[in-house]
């Protein structure tokens, strides 16, 4: 099949034609001007041979576009993700061809799983060399096809504006996701008459489905007659900006809310109807009560296996209302009795008008009872230990108290992530940035950099394990060079803690390749001119956190925590949620 030769531009009016003196510029300059037209002011990237013309064009626009030179292209994608999640804008990353492009793969896959809008621009060898195994040529379109929402290779300079316009439209509309635009070198250097028109329509793509009023009515009927209704709050609530509508629904009919990992921060942790975190290492009550509820209102979530455990038993007794903008997620894992294929905000707004005020005191009491059980058995000793080594949970508690739950918390992957997600008391939407679907170790340091760039007035704290830190620690160089004031808390147990926990519980304590002999993290930070402190004693912890938070600029705090601490509760993988273990 052939690609279209002609770019359909908006029909020009007669006036346009008369006044049309379109600038003749290079493809590279067109890239930068197109990005500026989309409101881009921050780019994370790394130059190389095939993208040099674009970097050369960037040189002339330094007053409008701030380029952050990362230390590895993976860092550029995670930084762009953090930037996007903190600012609500599309994150932009640049990389060269070949290894530059392949280094984007992990970040693209992560952004695809976690619905983060990115536009990644890669340089490519000249069109005449495509397919010849030229130096640093790789089929990045083929490689990234399954992990991008859309991608395109541009081989002619005059196609650049339309490709970038389409990329931004696709990345940010509907269920957001990463997009990759691969531009051959000849297109970067060739000149043409530049004109930019934003993309507002693609005939084969319907990002915002029409709200089905009948489905909303059916959902309202189910909720109004429910004895034990239960709201699952997913990332889609944050993406749609529907936090208030969700809380309004919960309050009107007194419905408890539990959050998925990516849905955290949509509902303040101290809200009386907030029940806690769903999933493998979520809270006891919200997990157990999935077996009790009679109507589930799942909003902007996709029933990940870490949430459902054994799918055949998960909420099998309940009627399910699934509000979801991505049709492919509806009925993918859990059958929806009422499917509302819509934007969460639009659907909840319509739903709220049909909901009757209700009380579910006994049902809410079950959540409080379950919470007390978890608090007594697990949380109290984790949060307020009086002896022994420092606990991860008490560190997160102190951090939460001292930031008043208002920091942007960026977590990596593993035990520290689960502990931070369980115990940080989020107050404001979009303050939880983590790698959920992909579980990408090494996410947090670059993502925190991006988050700080996207929300410079906020305190941004990365909580990271000793294993994860060493996957992307080179980004300390970026933090130093660009003077990005992120705080980094390493919870160091000298283990790949989550894998070790599984080995302890399911592999007979055979600790295969999980113990880490670690370097001196403070010396490493010092090498990057980042101040830091190592804490090993409980009595020094609070003051050290204070010092870190008060420091103007980047700071690294290493907290040596209990070596063989476990995260509980835990639902063993693939088992019914009711098998949740408290110890």
């Amino acid at each position: 099949m052939q690609q279209k030769d002609v770019l359909p531009m908006k029909a020009e009016t007669e006036a346009d034609k008369r006044s049309a003196v379109k600038p003749v510029i290079t493809g590279s300059e067109a890239v930068i001007r197109s990005l500026i037209a989309e409101g881009v002011d921050t780019i994370f990237g790394y130059p190389g041979g095939a993208i040099m013309p674009i970097y050369d064009a960037l040189y002339d626009f330094q007053d409008q576009v701030h380029h952050i030179l990362v230390r590895h292209e993976q860092g550029a994608t995670h930084a762009a993700q953090g930037y996007s999640r903190a600012s609500g804008k599309v994150g932009v990353a640049f990389a060269t061809s070949g290894p530059g492009a392949t280094n984007l793969v992990t970040g693209l896959a992560d952004a695809y799983m976690d619905s983060t809008p990115l536009v990644c621009i890669t340089g490519q060898v000249a069109a005449s060399l495509l397919g010849t195994d030229a130096f640093q040529e790789t089929d990045v379109i083929g490689i990234t096809m399954p992990i991008t929402k859309w991608n395109i290779q541009v081989t002619r300079q005059e196609d650049i504006p339309a490709a970038i316009a389409k990329a931004f439209y696709i990345a940010r509309s509907g269920r957001p996701g990463p997009v990759l635009v691969d531009i051959t070198k000849n297109a970067q250097v060739g000149t043409f008459e530049f004109e930019y028109n934003k993309c507002e329509f693609i005939r084969s793509y319907q990002p915002v489905p029409e709200l089905d009023k009948e489905a909303v009515t059916a959902a309202a009927a189910l909720i109004n007659s429910a004895k034990k209704p239960y709201i699952f709050c997913g990332h889609g609530v944050l993406l749609a900006g529907a936090e208030n509508e969700l809380i309004a629904l919960a309050e009107k009919a007194q419905i408890p809310v539990a959050s998925t990992l990516l849905g955290l921060s949509a509902v303040p942790v101290d809200h009386p109807l907030y029940g806690g975190l769903l999933g493998m290492h979520g809270n006891y009550a919200p997990n157990m009560l999935t077996c009790e509820c009679d109507v589930v209102i799942a909003v902007g979530m996709r029933f990940d296996d870490r949430v459902t455990g054994d799918v055949s038993t998960f909420i099998s007794q309940a009627k399910v209302i699934h509000i979801e903008i991505d049709a492919a997620e509806i009925n993918k894992i859990i059958h929806a009795d009422v499917a509302i294929h819509a934007d969460a905000k639009e659907a909840l707004t319509a739903l709220n008008q049909l909901i009757m005020p209700a009380k579910h005191d006994a049902w809410l009491e079950e959540f409080r009872f379950g919470h007390k059980k978890e608090y007594d058995k697990v949380q109290h000793r984790e949060l307020y230990p009086e002896s022994g080594e420092i606990k991860m949970a008490e560190t997160v508690r102190l951090l939460s108290e001292k930031t008043n739950g208002e920091a942007i918390l960026v977590t990596d992957v593993g035990q520290h992530q689960m502990i931070a997600s369980r115990y940080y008391r989020f107050k404001n939407p979009n303050t939880n940035i983590t790698s959920g679907g992909m579980g990408t170790m090494g996410f947090s340091i670059p993502a925190a950099m991006g988050a700080k760039m996207g929300a410079p007035d906020k305190q941004v704290v990365a909580v990271v394990g000793d294993g994860c830190f060493q996957m992307t620690l080179q980004e300390l160089g970026t933090i130093y060079q660009s003077q990005i004031g992120v705080k980094i808390v390493i919870l160091n147990n000298n283990f790949l803690g989550m894998v070790r926990q599984w080995q302890q519980l399911f592999f007979d304590k055979r600790y295969s390749s999980t113990e880490m002999v670690n370097p001196d993290f403070i010396q490493i930070a010092k090498g990057f001119f980042i101040p830091g402190k190592k804490v090993t004693a409980r009595e020094d912890l609070a003051a050290a956190i204070d010092e870190m938070l008060a420091h103007d600029g980047a700071y690294l705090l290493e907290v040596v925590v209990e070596k063989e601490d476990n995260v509980f509760p835990m639902v063993p993988a693939g088992t019914p949620v009711s098998t949740i273990r408290l110890e």
């Binding site: 052939q2 083929g142 339309a162 492919a328 993918k332």
Partner: protein
């Protein structure tokens, strides 16, 4: 239960669209048994007809994931009895056999086949039908010296479709984006 299904997909005309569709089957370990694609009556809109052995449950999800692709208009999964379909086969036979065996003509007539071309060395028979009929015909021709056999994928038309042509024509009024 695994059985044969026909999946139809309407797409924009784009480089790589075949790859985008097929990797969704690959991910779930579904083997594509035939794939036919060609432009529809609307320039720039293509139709894929894909046959697979799988389950309805899996294919409903696959079709959802195909429809999620930006440059896909619609995708459908059809049970065997929901489509009218044909495949086309060509059979190359040595001309000598035609002269020595008397009943090739009867065979062609009885099987609704036809001769496309005859040369001094070989002749080519065309037959349309369902896969099994086309394979059965091989056996009948083998005694006459079958030189080569080839078969197309499936083309299918949906029994329950209404106004499909009209819908496609409406699409033609809009402009395909870049």
């Amino acid at each position: 239960m695994q059985k044969e299904y026909t999946v139809t997909v309407y797409t924009e005309d784009r480089i790589g669209i075949t790859n985008r569709i097929t990797i969704i089957f690959t991910r779930r370990g579904i083997n594509i048994t035939s794939l036919t694609t060609a432009e529809t009556e609307i320039p720039g809109v293509y139709k894929f007809v894909i046959t697979v052995m799988s389950t309805r449950e899996k294919l409903d999800k696959v079709v959802g994931q195909i429809e999620r692709l930006i440059e896909i208009h619609r995708a459908f999964v059809h049970e065997e009895d929901e489509v009218v379909y044909q495949e086309l086969a060509l059979y190359k036979i040595s001309t000598k056999a035609l002269h020595t065996a008397g009943d090739v003509e009867r065979l062609i007539r009885e099987n609704n086949a036809r001769i496309l071309t005859i040369t001094a060395d070989y002749f080519v028979i065309e037959k349309t039908g369902h896969q099994q009929e086309l394979i059965d015909f091989i056996k009948k021709l083998e005694p006459y010296g079958l030189i080569e056999y080839t078969k197309s994928g499936r083309v299918a038309i949906v029994k329950w479709s209404r106004r499909f042509h009209e819908h496609l024509k409406e699409l033609d009024k809009t402009v395909a984006s870049y």
